[in-house]
């Protein structure tokens, strides 16, 4: 494998909707998925100062078609996005979809075939079209959403024999981390509380997050003067002991979009293009780890590929987002990336070093728990946040020392591990 772009590739612009619920959230209520996707694309085209006629190809991602009823998404959205007569394809790489789309777009641009490519991700995890209505939706039970999402998981042996994401992605990793590094379960619980506080703090400063309430404020609202007492209360049960509800993903509806461009087009752009200097993609199947659940080998491979392509070392990273459907998984992955020292992640959490104003800022949009998770759209939302930070326009949650090298990692069920390395900005 060559492992290099022949020409530099840039992300010129990005768009992202509010993450929320199409049945309830004020900014989204009543919208269809076509309209939701168009919101994100409109912002990305405006941000990149691109007119629809400049786009050569469209890569559109959606994972749970049971909630979208939109197979052949490329054609179903082409009129809505002003993209008819372009090259187009629907992709599904689970929750890595948008960043796999970015990587595919980058290769097509670096090869010289296309000059600008639009990548879009859209998802609803909370509702589906009601009785085949073109615009009315009905809420789906959470377990039904997980059943459909688990179609991405080993259907021969895993799911039929009782596979459950919560122990596999939360409980075992928590126990593995504690045993490996000598943390008590009590220490672990306190650290997860602090990590949730950090993510919720970030989301409280992000008008696009699904949950903009700080954990401390939620505790007060629920009648607890001590937020840690609330954390340990029945309102925050164990999903998979010792991991609790508020250390896990919050499903959302949302869309994101990115415009990928060649160097020549980036040079015409009068904004701040962000260079995509490397990516790594690796796949695997269950079980995701051997005797040490803190190490998932497809992640090791993806980081290695991306760092080599971008010619960076972990010490070069200024901002990191790693997939955090499970907060303890995100600590394991951040340590695997080299951004945090092995076995010290929980200490960094407790010391507030992962906050936007800490020395190892992570997931400043709020992450999968507080920003929310709209499967195919989320990787693009993670990249959107990195671009905001690198351009110095993240508002109240702006990292004081504007990052110049960002790394975005995602897990697509289950698994496709992706790593993007972004450089540049302000």
């Amino acid at each position: 494998m060559e492992g290099k772009f022949r020409e530099p590739v840039y992300i010129l612009g990005a768009g992202c909707t509010r993450f929320g619920n199409l049945m309830e959230t004020p900014e989204l209520k009543g919208l269809t998925l076509q309209e939701l996707a168009a919101q994100a694309v409109k912002e990305a085209l405006a941000d990149s100062k691109t007119s629809p006629d400049e786009i050569d190809a469209v890569i559109i991602g959606n994972v749970t078609m049971q909630t979208s009823n939109l197979p052949a998404t490329y054609s179903q959205l082409s009129k809505w996005l002003g993209m008819e007569m372009k090259a187009g394809v629907h992709i599904d790489a689970g929750c890595s979809t948008t960043n796999v789309g970015v990587s595919m777009a980058a290769m097509s641009v670096a090869s010289g075939v296309y000059r600008k490519v639009l990548v879009v991700g859209l998802e609803s995890t909370s509702s589906r079209p009601s009785k085949l209505s073109p615009y009315e939706r009905e809420t789906i039970p959470t377990e039904e959403m997980w059943l459909w999402t688990d179609y991405c998981i080993n259907q021969a042996y895993g799911v039929p024999q009782g596979y459950d994401i919560f122990p596999v992605y939360n409980g075992f990793l928590a126990l593995g981390y504690c045993r490996k590094y000598g943390y008590s379960i009590e220490d672990f619980d306190r650290s997860m509380f602090e990590l949730c506080k950090t993510r919720r703090l970030h989301a409280s400063m992000n008008k696009k997050a699904i949950n903009q309430e700080k954990l401390e404020d939620e505790a007060t609202r629920m009648g607890y003067s001590d937020p840690y007492e609330f954390w340990q209360s029945p309102y925050n049960p164990f999903l998979s002991w010792p991991s609790r509800l508020r250390s896990a993903v919050v499903p959302a509806d949302g869309a994101s979009a990115l415009v990928i461009s060649c160097k020549e087009e980036a040079e015409k752009y009068d904004g701040l293009p962000i260079e995509l200097s490397g990516f790594g993609i690796s796949i695997g199947d269950l079980p995701w780890y051997g005797s040490d659940p803190t190490i998932q080998n497809y992640d090791v491979a993806s980081f290695k590929k991306a760092y080599k392509m971008a010619d960076i070392q972990p010490s070069d990273i200024d901002y990191l987002h790693v997939h955090d459907c499970s907060h303890i998984s995100s600590i394991c992955t951040a340590e695997l990336s080299g951004y945090l020292p092995q076995g010290e992640g929980l200490e960094y959490v407790k010391d507030g070093r992962l906050r936007f104003d800490g020395d190892r800022p992570m997931s400043t949009h709020g992450g999968r728990h507080a920003f929310g998770h709209a499967w195919a759209a989320s990787a693009g939302a993670d990249t959107y946040e990195a671009m905001k930070q690198m351009r110095g326009i993240a508002g109240d949650r702006q990292i004081p020392k504007t990052p110049h090298t960002s790394v975005i990692h995602t897990h697509g069920y289950g698994m496709i591990s992706t790593v993007l390395v972004l450089k540049g900005g302000k």
Partner: protein, 133 residues
């Protein structure tokens, strides 16, 4: 008529046997069986029976209601990460284990422990579960 590898796996399981494959190129084991060796990718494979004995490394629990309706009556259930004595890692239900935090903490503090297969039937499908011995 060709035999489905997946169907054969469950038929073996129903007879109490854990049957995967051994690669005739690299000698690697694959369990449960697929069409390729999970070590080297070769498709030159022969059947290999596994003992069903192993070590329970971690045990926790899942959620209720279960996403898979097959497990509606059982959920929430204990679920474990197991290394078979042949070296393969598998995950499955752990029978005979209480899932309250105090019980799970005691099991965690004991460390890795010996388990053996405890095949159960759930809605007419044999399921590979394990019990602590």
């Amino acid at each position: 008529m060709p035999e489905s590898i997946i169907k054969e796996y469950y038929e073996h399981l129903k007879e109490g046997k854990l049957v995967g494959t051994k690669c005739t190129v690299c000698g690697g084991y694959t369990f449960p069986p697929t069409t390729a060796c999970e070590k080297c990718g070769s498709m030159a494979l022969e059947p290999q029976e596994f003992s069903g004995k192993g070590t329970l490394l971690f045990v926790s629990h899942g959620v209720a209601p279960a996403p898979n309706p097959r497990f509606a009556e059982l959920a929430p259930y204990a679920y474990g990460h197991v290394q078979l004595e042949e070296g393969i890692f598998v995950q499955g239900l752990i029978t005979g284990v209480d899932i309250d935090p105090e019980s799970l903490l005691k099991l965690y503090e004991k460390g890795p422990m010996a388990v053996e297969k405890d095949i159960i039937e759930v809605e007419n499908l044999p399921i590979l579960a394990f019990k602590i011995v």
